[in-house]
């Protein structure tokens, strides 16, 4: 225990003397949480629409009006020529082309039926998919309005109609920030935990002090604990800063209890610190450690369920996410913050995370050699 006291004293002195560590701990969460949630916006806005209006009728103008007033689309070109609009797409000045053919109004009035043509630039899959869906919905609504105006409904509708009314549980207004901010906070904690511990130990390797430590009778677990505890505390500080920002700037107040979040985070931090430790034992210098942790971070983020839903991933990818600690914490954060889940609800997640913590730290201690 006395040895540990000296180790902790030394680590804290070094941390508080290193302005870059303090900057990472204080500035990184603030910047990331203040900027990223606004940029990582799920709602598609400003979809560039090119309209080929060959009809120039009252109806076509009404339709275009309806589309542009929805707020999702910006009309970037309005012309009578298909070629011209296609050129706009090629120059990336338009994402969608809506063609209103000649005699659109006539056919609609006379034959109760008219065709529209929609072409989508599918280079950006998300934009294309959502843009197309939005546009279809607007046209569908327009269609209903037109029918209401022209057709006298019989008392009983000849077509069977199912009308769907939905309500969003746990996030009634579908505020995507409630969904993104907790996830970004998890990524932040992961980055701080993994990088700080990995870089710290590798730096001791680079400057040669680790050799001086290895030649002392210090126990391996003392050394490892001496490194884990300070960064574990720093991680909880970052979490606190992050939760405060979520509250102040996004009004996110967990439906569940803070205690649940902190208990899970405490175990989670142990796991990611263990990972940092493991990275450091397998890297000879800071560059290697950075590259390795960057590589892992990419996988963690993309297969963590932050941006894309894990449920919609292919089977093999779902299988990988089970080995990704980030995916568990993101899920727990969303469960606790949005749904108010309790410790009992996240029992399985917590158990698995304990497994990660024990496994990663055990592996790190085992692969840390005082003697080569």
């Amino acid at each position: 225990m006395r040895t540990l006291k000296f180790l902790l004293q030394k680590e804290f002195r070094q941390i508080f003397r290193d302005p870059s560590i303090l900057r990472i701990i204080l500035v990184m969460p603030v910047i990331q949480l203040l900027i990223l949630p606004w940029a990582a916006d799920y709602e598609m806005k400003n979809i560039k629409l090119a309209v080929v209006d060959q009809d120039h009728s009252e109806y076509s103008r009404q339709l275009i009006n309806k589309i542009t007033s929805s707020g999702y689309f910006t009309l970037t070109s309005y012309s009578g020529s298909w070629e011209q609009s296609l050129e706009q797409v090629e120059r990336d000045k338009a994402d969608l082309i809506l063609q209103i053919p000649l005699h659109f109004e006539q056919q609609l009035v006379k034959e109760d039926e008219a065709a529209l043509f929609m072409a989508i630039n599918a280079i950006n899959g998300v934009k294309a998919g959502l843009g197309g869906a939005y546009l279809q919905r607007i046209i569908g609504e327009y269609n209903r309005e037109v029918r209401m105006k022209w057709i006298q409904f019989p008392r009983f509708n000849p077509d069977t109609q199912i009308e769907v009314t939905s309500s969003n549980w746990f996030n009634p207004l579908m505020n995507y920030k409630y969904f993104m901010v907790p996830g970004i906070l998890v990524i932040l904690l992961t980055m701080v935990g993994t990088n700080l511990s990995a870089i710290n130990i590798v730096r001791e390797k680079e400057i040669g002090t680790i050799e001086q430590i290895n030649v002392t009778p210090i126990k391996k677990y003392h050394f490892v604990l001496g490194k884990l505890i300070p960064f574990w505390i720093l991680g909880l500080v970052v979490l606190t800063i992050g939760l405060t920002i979520s509250r102040l700037f996004y009004g996110i107040i967990p439906a569940g209890s803070f205690i649940t979040i902190y208990i899970f985070a405490a175990v989670y931090l142990l796991a990611v610190l263990g990972l940092g430790l493991l990275i450091s034992t397998h890297s000879a210098n800071q560059q290697q450690a950075m590259l390795l942790s960057f590589f892992l971070m990419m996988i963690f983020i993309l297969l963590g369920g932050l941006y894309t839903s894990i449920d919609s991933m292919p089977e093999w990818a779902k299988w990988i996410t089970r080995f990704n600690p980030v995916s568990y914490f993101i899920e727990v954060m969303r469960m606790v913050i949005l749904k108010g889940s309790t410790l009992v609800d996240i029992k399985m997640h917590l158990l698995i995370m304990c497994g990660f913590a024990v496994g990663l730290n055990g592996w790190a201690v085992w692969s840390y050699r005082k003697r080569s």
Partner: protein, 253 residues
């Protein structure tokens, strides 16, 4: 000849100690003994295997074959026990630059299990002895290299070990500081600490009780400086070293 402290007790023994890295034999069956209180010089060109041999004795590197004991303990089994009884100063400067002089001493004293009272008293003694009373609270990085090296040596023997291993302790240091450094080595030797030192400076070899000269991983010569000079018909250790080092076929790594 400074042999007053030698008692004949063997504190380091190596018997056909070998270290291989794949096909490369870094240390090739070296055998020698070091007596308590001796200043033992460990000479050799760059890449001759000095540091590797020293690292095996300190428990930092596992030997491939052969036997060795340090302070009576086996290097294979009891390496952690050895560590309590030795001090080590590596080629790389290894105090924490972002800690003060006193904090470094407190840290290293602490992890060797020294008491607070001991640490306090010893720190004061060393600072006084090195005339660094006013530098105690300065960060190590602000000190000149010569002082740092002297401090590193003081920290290496802070816990009063029986043996201290010094790996090129005077590299890059000016001649005056080098002289002062050797005075510190003599003082440590006088209180019974065995010194095991590697060096490139042949004038320093003259200060040792005995020297061994390594060439391509093997010990080619081992005796007192005066005997070696006689044996090789040389006027200085420099000549002895050159005669032996020329035999080297290994490319400097």
């Amino acid at each position: 000849m400074r042999a007053s402290n030698m008692t004949g007790e063997k504190v380091i023994t190596a018997d056909k100690l070998t270290k291989r890295f794949g096909d490369f034999v870094a240390v090739d069956q070296i055998s020698f003994e070091v007596e308590k209180g001796e200043i033992f010089g460990f000479l050799g060109a760059n890449g001759a295997g000095k540091t590797t041999a020293m690292r095996m004795l300190c428990g930092l590197s596992l030997p491939t074959s052969g036997k060795a004991t340090v302070a009576g303990f086996d290097v294979y089994k009891d390496n952690e026990k050895i560590k309590k009884r030795i001090g080590y100063m590596s080629q790389k400067f290894s105090l924490y630059e972002d800690l003060t002089v006193k904090e470094n001493m407190r840290f290293y004293g602490g992890i060797y299990g020294m008491s607070d009272a001991f640490i306090k008293q010893k720190t004061a003694f060393i600072l006084h002895h090195l005339h660094l009373e006013n530098e105690g609270n300065k960060l190590v990085k602000s000190l000149p290299l010569g002082w740092k090296q002297k401090l590193a040596f003081s920290v290496a023997i802070f816990h009063e070990p029986g043996i201290v291993f010094l790996d090129e302790p005077t590299g890059g240091v000016d001649p005056v500081t080098r002289r002062e450094f050797w005075n510190m080595i003599y003082q440590a030797s006088e209180i019974g600490i065995t010194i095991f030192v590697t060096t490139h400076y042949m004038d320093e070899a003259e200060y040792c009780n005995r020297v061994s000269i390594m060439v391509d991983g093997r010990i080619e010569a081992l005796d007192s400086p005066s005997n070696l000079k006689k044996q090789y018909n040389a006027l200085s250790m420099d000549e002895v070293f050159l005669q032996l080092a020329r035999k080297a076929t290994r490319i400097e790594s």
